[in-house]
Structure formats: C-alpha cells, structure tokens
C-alpha cells in the first residue's frame, strides 16, 4: 500500500499553494468519492472550513441520490455551494441521445465555462487521478487553460519540485489536480481511515454496485457483491476491470476523452 500520509501531505500542500497564489479559487464537486475526498482534504488544509466556493455542475441528468447526498453534506460541512447549470441547453432538450460528445460538452464544459465567467474564478481544484484514464495520466498538477477554455496538451508547462506554473494572461484559468497521484484503491483506503461520507450507490445491492458515478443515462453499475468499504478495498485489490468501465462517454469513439478534455472538459 502507498503511504496515505504521504499522499495526503502532498495534496494539502498543493491546495494551500493554490489558495496562496490565486485570487479566486474554487473546488469542483461531482459528489462522487474522489471529489468528496478532495473536499475533505480542503477542510483539513484550512482547519475545518473551506474558504472558497464549491461548484457542482448540474447536468440535470444526475441520479437523484447524488442530489440528496450533495444537499445533506453541503449543510453538514457548511459549504458555499455554487450550482453550475446550462439551463438553456437543458431546456432545449440536449441529452445523450443526440451524441454523448455534444451532451458532455454542452451540459458540463459549457456550464462550467459560464460559471467561471460569471464568478471570475481563476483556479479550479479538481479531483482527477492519473490511474483513471490514459489522458488524465498526462496531466500536470497545475494545468493552464486558455481564454477559450482549451488545454494545450502538446505544450504543457515545466513543473518541477512543486514549483508550479502561474497564470499566463487575462481570461485564462488554472486547473489544479491535488490528488493526481492517488489511485482508486488509495481513495477507498483513505475514505475508510478518515470516515469520509460516501454516496450509498457505491455499495452493492442485488449483486450490482456503481464504481464511478456520473449522469444516470450514461453510467452503468458493475457486477459486485462489495457492500462495505472493506469489501470494496478487497475487490479492488484483485479486479481486472477498469474503474471507468461503466462510463459511456469515455468509449463512444476513440480519443473521445482527449477531445473532450482539450475543449475544457474535466
């Protein structure tokens, strides 16, 4: 096992650097296990109260248990919750049937872009991890996005010895990835160690559980009998199935994830 204390220390260092170096940071929260862990790390970094807004991108297609979990925890932890929703696209009936690429881009990326414009955030903390996807494995801890929200993955900054790239101009923003070096297994071990609340959808019912949470139409459960955190940890130690196997947007076409991320997807 990797040392959870090392993982945590590094993540907290990055969160504090973000708060010190940027004027208006915010953290993204999908309500899933990774971003809830991210919120927990932020609470630790600032001794209990997160001093910046928590953005939830609401596509309108999330599972109702996710909304419930979000509202309960937001109350308990006193979060400054900002809901980012592309109401216009949702009202026009944009959905996964017309194409997942377009749906993700409009309901997630575009919703986030408008939220940033409205609030003027210059740094977004996100809970992506290298081991989730080959494209995410190529990321930096501090990853700039240009004024058009684009990721210039062919020319990423020099990032050494925890000396991070700063912003490079008006209208640009920084994506900050403090748990980039964690694995799925580490997250669960940490959730257990710290007693972090997680959505009950991760636990098996009738032989199925969700391993990764997203929008209802594009997320499927996996076959599993893991009904507790301990059982999930055991399952992950032997599984040969990829974490995001149940996430349809990764698989529609080849390099979909790269193209989504190049446009500013999370």
């Amino acid at each position: 096992m990797l040392d959870l204390k090392d993982l945590e220390n590094r993540s907290i260092y990055i969160v504090r650097e973000t708060y010190a170096e940027f004027e208006k940071p915010a953290v993204l929260w999908s309500t899933g296990k990774d971003s809830t862990t991210m919120l927990w790390l932020c609470r630790k970094a600032f001794f209990g109260r997160i001093p910046f807004p928590v953005i939830h991108i609401d596509t309108g297609y999330k599972f109702k248990q996710m909304y419930q979990f979000r509202d309960d925890l937001a109350r308990e932890w006193g979060l400054d919750l900002v809901i980012a929703k592309n109401e216009e696209a949702f009202a026009q009936g944009v959905g996964p049937k017309e194409g997942k690429f377009e749906c993700c881009t409009k309901l997630k990326t575009e919703a986030l872009r408008r939220c940033l414009e409205e609030h003027g955030f210059d740094a977004l903390i996100l809970a992506i991890r290298r081991d989730e996807h080959g494209i995410r494995a190529k990321e930096r801890y501090f990853s700039p996005r240009d004024e058009n929200f684009r990721w210039d993955y062919k020319d990423q900054p020099l990032e050494m010895w925890d000396q991070f790239q700063g912003l490079l101009g008006a209208g640009t923003h920084m994506r900050v990835h403090p748990i980039l070096h964690w694995r799925e297994l580490d997250v669960w071990e940490y959730v257990k160690q710290e007693g972090i609340p997680v959505n009950p959808m991760y636990f098996a019912q009738n032989g199925k559980r969700y391993r990764s949470l997203g929008c209802e139409p594009c997320t499927s459960p996996i076959e599993s009998n893991a009904a507790s955190i301990d059982e999930i940890v055991e399952e992950l130690k032997t599984t040969k199935i990829a974490e995001r196997a149940g996430r349809a947007q990764d698989k529609e076409k080849t390099f979909t994830m790269q193209k989504l991320r190049a446009l500013g997807y999370m």
């Binding site: 096992m1 990797l2 040392d3 204390k5 090392d6 945590e8 220390n9 590094r10 907290i12 260092y13 504090r16 650097e17 708060y19 010190a20 609470r43 630790k44 970094a45 600032f46 001794f47 209990g48 109260r49 290298r130 081991d131 996807h133 080959g134 494209i135 494995a137 190529k138 930096r140 993955y153 062919k154 990423q156 900054p157 020099l158 990032e159 050494m160 010895w161 000396q163 790239q165 700063g166 912003l167 490079l168 070096h181 694995r183 040969k240 199935i241 990829a242 196997a245 080849t254 390099f255 790269q258």
Partner: protein
C-alpha cells in the same frame, strides 16, 4: 515503500515499450485495455506496440513517439512509480517534469545503436537532478542475436559516459523489451548473463535514508481560524517539535511553537514531508524558512547555480522571477561563468553573454534576500525554477551560496 524510477534514453531506444512490457508481464493491466488498443490499431492501421499502453494521445499513436510524460504504479517487491518520458530533444521540459522526483534512473540504450545524443543529454540531466542510482538497460538484444559482444560494446561506451558524470558502478542488464527478456521474466536466450532481471535489480535497491538534517520548515501562508493565527507550511528537513524555539528568515521573527495542528487534532512533532500548521503568534509570512537557532537558516542575496535552460535565451544582466521553496523573488543574472553543452557536459565558453535553449550554464545570481541551501546539503531548498513573463523556463540547483 514507494520508489520513483524514471526511464530515460534516446528516441526509439524503447522506453515506453519497456514500461508497456512491465505492465503486461506483471498482469497489471485492466482486462479491456488490450482489446481497446487492438481496436485502435485496426482503426489506425498500426502494428501492436507495448508503448501504446502509455502513449495515450492520438498524436502519440499517429506519430509513433512519446510527447509527454506519463507515470504508472507498478508492484514488485516494493511499489514503483515508473515514469515514462519523451526522448525527443524538443520535449526536454516534459522529460524534466517527469524525472525530477525520481530516486532511480533506468537508462535505456539500444544494443544496435549504442549511445546517442539524447542518451548523453538525459544522462547529464539525471546527474544535474541529483539522481544517485542509475541502472542501464541494454535493449533490443533480440536484434543482435542475444550475443554478448553487442552487450559488451554498449556497456563500454555507456560506462565511459556515466563515469564522466560521477557514476562509478552502474548496473548493466541485457534486455529485450519487445520480446520480454530479462525485464520481468528471466531470459532463456542469454546464458552468458548471470545477473538480475530489471525488476530484480529494482527490488534490490535500498533507498538512501536521509540522515538527520537540520530543521527547515517553509511557510506557505498564515490563516486566522477562530481568532488564532496558524502558520501553515511543510517540514522539508529535520523534525519540528512542540515547544521548539524557531527563527524565521528572512523576516527575522523568533517565536516558540505552542501548538502543532493537523486538523482535526494537535500533534507533538512533525517530520519530513508533513504539511502542518503551527501556532507561533504573529510575524512569519509566506516565503519564510524556519529553523532552530542552533542551525539557523542563512539569508543570502547571491549564489552560484547550475541551470538547464529549456526555452528562449538567458542573458547576462537579465532580470527574472525565481521560485525556491515558497519564496518568489526577482533575480538578476549577474555573471554567466560557464556555458555548458547539455549533451556532453563540455564547457563551451567562459564569462559569456548569453546561453540558448537546451544549454546549461553556471550562473551567479543576485536576488532579494532569501534562504537557500546548497543542493548537496538540503536539496529541497537547493533547487529553483526561473520564470520569464510568468512562464517556467529553466531549472537549477545551488552550488555555492553567498558568492
């Protein structure tokens, strides 16, 4: 235990293939990964390569080269974070980004091609980064009929290169990443070789235990929580204990640590790498370094550094931003003592006016007052980044302070 290993070497000598092979043979890949890659290969009409487990950008597949660094976690006796880096000269900044936290470098040298330009440059940079362990994997032995003669030729060449950089006893392993010889599984085709496989060689490495060094605590910020001032930061070396009297520099504050806070609790002491909050009253600020009075941090405003420039030029008299620890200062390039070829390590000129991209140099910097250390003593405060117009352009280490 987790060991960071970076795979370096010339273009097409087989770095990504080697890691792909490690993942494949150790059965560390998810079931659908192979099927996903097979599908890709049909679509793009490509032959199977182990490198495609790592090279996940479309451009990397199309151009058959690694553009940016990737890392994967891999389990042998220990956990290894294996870092893949691009071999092309134009991607040196991505190579450094991947390599900077490595404790071990695996230098891949192709048996048919021998030592090439990026073999030399990567070896020089591995040395500059202070990576102490080097393992040489002599790859593509299958193309040389697994013959000892080819291995010995490359070994002689590489030994010469590495000894010029101060690596006296590197380990050499003949491998074929493509065929899987001596990577994860022992080879049956090289009876003349009695040494370990690559994974065994990694398992044998004992990471150097840092001896007890003087305390250095870098200050990131000061928060006010429930009307208590909490100075947050990281212990970079040594141990910090409750009740210690600390000297903060360059602010000059002296204060006693009344609490060490790690939410939601308080602790008695904190060691290397720990991100903590301490209660010391008012005064310290971001960029300060705290230490015990017995081994105080020296404030300096000039030092000699060795720098690798990744883009643009660097001229005598130029002003740049310097980042060291959490300190951000203006600095002046006072004197470029030696211009160094980053491929050969050779000094190309003394007292020069300017250096260019992908060159190295020893430079005397003049800075605002700050705390630095010699890289050989406390590396965490002995390394720095230079930024121009906000962009990180160079990395350096501190050779002498107070020049």
């Amino acid at each position: 235990m987790n060991l960071n290993a970076v795979i370096v070497g010339h273009v097409d000598h087989g770095k990504s293939t080697l890691i792909g092979r490690l993942l494949y043979d150790s059965e560390a890949l998810p079931e659908d990964k192979l099927a996903e890659i097979q599908k890709l290969l049909e679509e793009y009409k490509k032959r199977f390569e182990f490198a495609y487990f790592l090279d996940s950008f479309e451009e990397e597949l199309k151009e058959e080269r690694t553009i940016d660094t990737t890392r994967v976690l891999f389990k042998g006796k220990n956990y290894y974070t294996i870092v893949d880096v691009p071999g092309h000269k134009e991607f040196i900044k991505n190579m450094l980004t991947g390599a900077c936290h490595a404790q071990v470098a695996i230098l891949v040298v192709s048996a048919p091609d021998g030592v090439q330009e990026q073999t030399r440059r990567h070896a020089f940079l591995v040395h500059l980064l202070g990576i102490k362990e080097v393992i040489v994997a002599v790859n593509k032995m299958d193309l040389e009929g697994y013959e000892q003669g080819a291995f010995e030729r490359v070994k002689a060449q590489t030994t010469q290169l590495l000894s010029s950089l101060g690596y006296t006893e590197p380990r050499f392993i003949p491998i074929s990443a493509m065929e899987g010889d001596n990577v994860y599984k022992p080879s049956g085709k090289m009876d003349w070789y009695r040494g370990p496989t690559l994974i065994q060689a990694l398992d044998e490495i004992e990471p150097e235990m840092a001896g007890e060094k003087p305390l250095r605590f870098v200050v990131q910020d000061v928060y006010e929580v429930d009307s208590e001032k909490i100075t947050v930061g990281r212990v970079e070396s040594g141990t910090l204990r409750r009740g210690d009297e600390l000297l903060f520099q360059p602010s000059g504050v002296v204060a006693e640590v009344t609490k060490i806070k790690v939410f939601p609790a308080e602790v008695e002491e904190a060691g290397v790498g720990e991100s903590i909050g301490i209660v010391v009253g008012d005064g310290p600020r971001r960029g300060d370094v705290a230490a015990h009075k017995a081994s105080p941090p020296a404030v300096t405003s000039s030092f000699l550094g060795e720098v690798a420039l990744l883009e643009g030029t660097l001229s005598r008299g130029e002003r740049l931003e310097m980042k060291c620890g959490t300190k951000r200062v203006d600095c002046l390039v006072l004197e470029i003592r030696e211009r160094i070829n980053s491929e050969t390590g050779e000094v190309m000129g003394k007292g020069v006016e300017q250096i260019g991209a992908n060159e190295a140099a020893t430079i005397v910097f003049q800075t605002e007052p700050m705390v630095v250390e010699k890289f050989s003593e406390i590396p965490e405060l002995g390394r720095f980044i230079l930024a121009k117009g906000g962009k990180n352009i160079a990395a350096g280490v501190i050779l002498e302070k107070g020049i």
